[in-house]
Amino acid sequence: MAELRLDVAVPLRAFELRVALEIGAETVAVAGPSGAGKSTLLRAVAGLTPARGHVRVNGEDWSELAPEQRSVGFVFQDYALFPHLNVRRNVAFGGDPEGMLERLGIAQLAEAHPRELSGGERQRVALARALARKPQVLLLDEPLAALDPHTRDTVRVELRAILRELRLPAIVVTHDFVDAAALADRVGVLVDGVLVQIGRADELIAAPVSPFVARFAGGNVLRGHARRANTLTSVELDDRNVIVSIDDAQGEVAAVVYPWDVTLSRALPSDSAQNHVQGTVTSVVPVANRMRVTVGAVTAEITAESAQRLQIREGDLLVASWKASATRLVAL
């Protein structure tokens, strides 16, 4: 059973990176703000950054090994392809290139030099090179960040299939929750060198431990003061609006509501949604077949048809509504 156990500490400028993690034959995404130590974690596992503590892979202690003695496949953020070698030689630097070129669909690029490749092709070459080493652990640093949105969608699907097929302990560093949720079995959120939460993407959405995790998972975070009343908790927001939640809380809280739980209307609706906040539309952005509409402090994601029906324009006064059961409260 493939397994990576790490317990490492690396002093960084403002804080210390301290991560203890056990990863089986699964992909763990490590997400968080820039400067949180995400890349440093990968470098520590690969031996590129000196770290205290232990890195154990399949029972073998890697802590004292030089990078070239550790069996890692590392895909760097800008791919780090060797510019003086063609694709075949780049991949051959890691191991036998032939099978890998076929597998990643880049056999026809074998004689091309990195400068002649598109972003998506470079990504495939970097992955092929890392896999040619037949690594026991896979480390990917922002594997999709350098790609344009269209290529990104394609590569995300391919990468996910490859990760599922390899069944290796893999760590993917990303700053994008969608990428994290799509690629990984578990998502860890790293803030100031510490994993503040780790779990399945839906667990992070359902029960974020902090406003940061909630915002990272795409939620609206509204700060306020909670007071328990009967079966519901009422929260007086900093902007004086009052909303309710079925979560139990008292005192300073962050109320989290996800954009897909919010509906929009022109006038106060009479349905079962119990929270209503009126505000001015500040942005309308199409996302795939949906519209992201920001009304005051709340962002809603509605279908394109609804947006069409409401004829939303920036500057319009709209009501954002969501259910008490769709309001998570996080104590501050």
């Binding site: 470098r43 690969a46 031996g47 590129l48 030089a66 990078p67 070239e68 550790r70 890692v72 496949g73 590392f74 760097f76 800008d78 780090a80 060797f82 510019p83 003086h84 630097f93 890691g94 030099h113 400068r115 090179r129 890392a130 080493r133």
Partner: protein, 259 residues
């Protein structure tokens, strides 16, 4: 202002080009070629090429690893070592000559019989020209993308393989430019050589020394050797320019014009 600066530039450029032009304008090219058949010139050419080739081989063989260490390691005293490497650049040639004698002379520190042999010429040339190569080489290695080195290591390459397969090829154009500069400086070496190796025809008399020895006796032979050196130097300068700027390959790592 345009007129004033233009005039200054015209005077400066004329002044710089005039001596070189004078060499070629004074006698015809056929005479120059003919005068190179003079035994003094022929011997000096052989001595110059042999000693320069040996000296540059020495400079590259020892200077490349030195430059790689200086470029890739951070340690106390690194700046002092970099200064030591560059010292011969600012040392007056006479001081270099007396220093080499004090080090390798019969009564010197190491007490050897090197002075006034062809080996002494090689050492003098290596001493004064090495900084040109090492400085450029350090700059080339420093300009390597550290992520490429890291990538090579995660792919299983130890330090030696990283150096041979990644660092050397990517720094090659910079190293070439450094070598051309070093070669050019070595060919012109005069002061240190004449003090440390003397000026014996067929043994230690290089082209530069032979020009000095001949100019009172046979000015045309001296001129012919001068013209030959100009041609060499011009060619080496072109090589430097080509390696530093002209090579449009996008993976060229450094414009090594620092020396």
């Amino acid at each position: 202002m345009r007129l004033l600066f233009g005039a200054a530039a015209a005077v400066a450029l004329t002044f710089l080009a005039l001596p070189v032009l004078a060499i070629f304008l004074r006698v015809s090219p056929t005479t120059l070629v003919h005068e190179l058949n003079d035994p003094v010139a022929r011997d000096a050419l052989v001595v110059s090429l042999r000693t320069s080739a040996l000296a540059q081989a020495l400079v590259v063989a020892l200077g490349t690893p030195t430059a790689y260490l200086l470029a890739t390691r951070r340690f106390r005293g690194r700046n002092i070592l970099l200064t030591v490497v560059e010292l011969p650049l600012v040392l007056p040639p006479a001081v270099a000559g007396i220093g080499l004698l004090a080090a390798f002379g019969r009564t010197g520190l190491l007490s050897t019989s090197v002075p006034f042999t062809q080996l002494a010429v090689v050492l003098a040339i290596a001493f004064v020209s090495a900084p040109f190569f090492v400085r450029t080489a350090v700059a080339s290695f420093e300009a390597l993308d550290p992520t490429l080195i890291a990538a090579a290591r995660t792919l299983g390459a130890g330090p030696w393989r990283v150096f041979v397969r990644i660092a050397l090829p990517l720094a090659a154009s910079g190293l070439g430019a450094g070598l051309a500069l070093s070669f050019a400086r070595g060919l012109g070496e005069f002061g240190a050589t004449i003090m440390f190796a003397g000026s014996l025809q067929r043994v230690t008399q290089t082209l530069s020394l032979a020009i000095y020895a001949e100019f009172a006796r046979n000015f045309d032979v001296a001129l012919a050797m001068g013209a030959l050196l100009v041609a060499f130097s011009f060619f080496l300068l072109l090589v430097v320019k080509w390696l530093s700027f002209g090579w449009t390959s996008p993976f060229r790592s450094v414009p090594s014009s620092s020396a």
